[in-house]
C-alpha cells in the first residue's frame, strides 16, 4: 500500500493546441516549476476530448484529470471549449454517482499567455487530488 507522504497523485492534463498547450509550453520556457507527476496530452481542441477518453483514464487508475482549453469566447473552433465544459460537468456527475469522486476532474480556461495560471491550476488539482487520496479503482487495477 501507498503510505501518505510518499504518494504523488498521477494527473493527466488534456491541453488544447491553441491556448492551453501553448501556455504549458510557455511555462516550460520560463522554467516555471509544477509537479512532475502531471502528464500533458496534446489535443487539437478540448471539444475533441470525448467523455470516453476521460472515463477510460479513470478506469485505468489515473488520480485526476485537468481539461485545459481556451478562454470562453476564445476557442479556435468557436465553441469546442464550451462543449467540453458541458461534458466535463456531466462526467463529474457520473464520477460522483459511482464513487470515484467528481472532484478529481476539473476544467480550466486560459489563454496562450497565461503560463502562471496554468501552473497555478495544475498545482491546485494536484493538491485537491492529494487530499482525496488515490483513485479508488487503483486497488483493483494493479500498478497504474
Amino acid at each position: 500500500m501507498i503510505e501518505s507522504g510518499q504518494w504523488e497523485p498521477k494527473i493527466i492534463a488534456f491541453c488544447c493546441n491553441y491556448c492551453a498547450y501553448a501556455a504549458a509550453d510557455l511555462a516550460g520556457s520560463k522554467r516555471m516549476q509544477y509537479p512532475a507527476s502531471v502528464r500533458i496530452i496534446h489535443s487539437p481542441c478540448t471539444g475533441k476530448i470525448e467523455m470516453e477518453h476521460i472515463l477510460e483514464a479513470f478506469e485505468k487508475g489515473i488520480d485526476g484529470i485537468l481539461v485545459a482549453g481556451c478562454l470562453e469566447g476564445g476557442c479556435h473552433f468557436l465553441e469546442g471549449n464550451l462543449r467540453a465544459r458541458k461534458r466535463t460537468d456531466r462526467i463529474r456527475e457520473i464520477l460522483d454517482q459511482i464513487g470515484v469522486g467528481g472532484e478529481r476532474l476539473k476544467m480550466v480556461n486560459l489563454s496562450a499567455a497565461m503560463a502562471p495560471t496554468f501552473v497555478e491550476r495544475v498545482r491546485e488539482i494536484v493538491e485537491a487530488v492529494r487530499a482525496l487520496g488515490p483513485n479508488p479503482l487503483k486497488k483493483s487495477v494493479g500498478a497504474p
Binding site: 467523455m51 470516453e52 472515463l55 477510460e56 479513470f58 478506469e59 457520473i94 454517482q97 459511482i98 464513487g99 470515484v100 479508488p136 479503482l137 483493483s140 487495477v141
Partner: protein, 222 residues
C-alpha cells in the same frame, strides 16, 4: 422516431446489482439518433458500471454489443451467442426493444436501461419534442397538420382554451399553444373554414385504452 432518455447511473447500477456477468445491448435505430441507447451511450454506461462495481469489490464482467434494431427478431438473433455467456441482458432499446429481447430469451433476465418517452422529433441539437401519441385514428388533416391530441395540454379538439396567452400554453409557458399553431397554420393554407365545424368527441377505441393493439395486414402476409 421514438425518443428515450437514459436512466440515472445509480438506477442502472441497482438493476444489475445481483448479476456478475452482464450483456449491454445498444440499438442502432431511434435511440442511437436520440443519443440515449446507441453504441456510444452503451460505452459510457459500461465505463460507469465497471468502475462502480470495481470500487464495491464486486467486479462486473461486461460485454457490449449494438444491433441494428432491437425490435426485430432478425437482428436479435445476433445476441444468441454473447447472451449465452452472461447472466442477464440490459437493453438500451426502447420499451419495445426490451420486450422483444425478453421474448426471445425466456429464461434470461432482461432489464431496461432507458426511460422510453415519446414519439417526437429533433427540434435542435439535443432537444426533442413530442408530436404524436399514436392514437390510432389520425386527425391531423382537420388541424392543419398540428396534433392537439398530443400538443394541447388539455387535448382540446375545439380549442383554444381561455388560457392561451401570447401564443404560449397556460399550462407550461415553455410550450407554444397548440391551438395558436393550428390557427396560424390553417390561415396560411387557406383552410380557416375548418374551424367552423365543431369536432365531435374523439373515438378513443382505436387507441390503447383497452390494452395492447395488434395490426394484421393480410395483403402482406405470407
Amino acid at each position: 422516431m421514438i425518443v428515450a432518455s437514459p436512466k440515472p447511473v445509480t438506477e442502472l447500477k441497482k438493476l444489475i446489482a445481483r448479476h456478475d456477468k452482464v450483456l449491454f445491448v445498444g440499438c442502432g435505430t431511434c435511440v442511437t439518433v436520440c443519443l440515449a441507447g446507441g453504441e456510444r451511450e452503451v460505452g459510457i454506461a459500461s465505463y460507469a458500471m465497471r468502475m462502480a462495481r470495481k470500487i464495491e469489490g464486486q467486479p462486473l464482467e461486461l460485454t457490449q454489443i449494438t444491433i441494428e434494431r432491437q425490435c426485430e427478431n432478425e437482428f436479435i438473433k445476433d445476441l444468441a451467442e454473447p447472451a449465452s455467456k452472461t447472466d442477464a441482458i440490459v437493453s438500451f432499446g426502447c420499451g419495445a426493444g426490451v420486450q422483444a429481447i425478453a421474448e426471445r430469451f425466456p429464461h434470461k433476465p432482461v432489464y431496461a436501461a432507458l426511460n422510453t418517452q415519446f414519439l417526437g422529433i429533433l427540434e435542435e441539437q439535443a432537444v426533442w419534442t413530442e408530436k404524436c401519441l399514436g392514437c390510432g385514428d389520425c386527425m391531423l388533416a382537420e388541424f392543419g397538420g398540428i396534433c392537439p391530441v398530443t400538443r394541447c395540454a388539455k387535448r382540446m379538439l375545439n380549442g383554444p382554451c381561455g388560457g392561451s396567452t401570447e401564443q404560449r400554453c397556460e399550462v407550461d409557458a415553455d410550450r407554444p399553444c397548440a391551438w395558436q399553431l393550428i390557427y396560424t397554420r390553417l390561415k396560411n393554407i387557406n383552410q380557416l373554414d375548418r374551424l367552423d365545424t365543431i369536432v365531435p368527441p374523439k373515438d378513443w377505441r382505436p387507441s390503447w385504452h383497452a390494452g395492447a393493439r395488434k395490426i394484421v395486414r393480410p395483403e402482406h402476409r405470407v
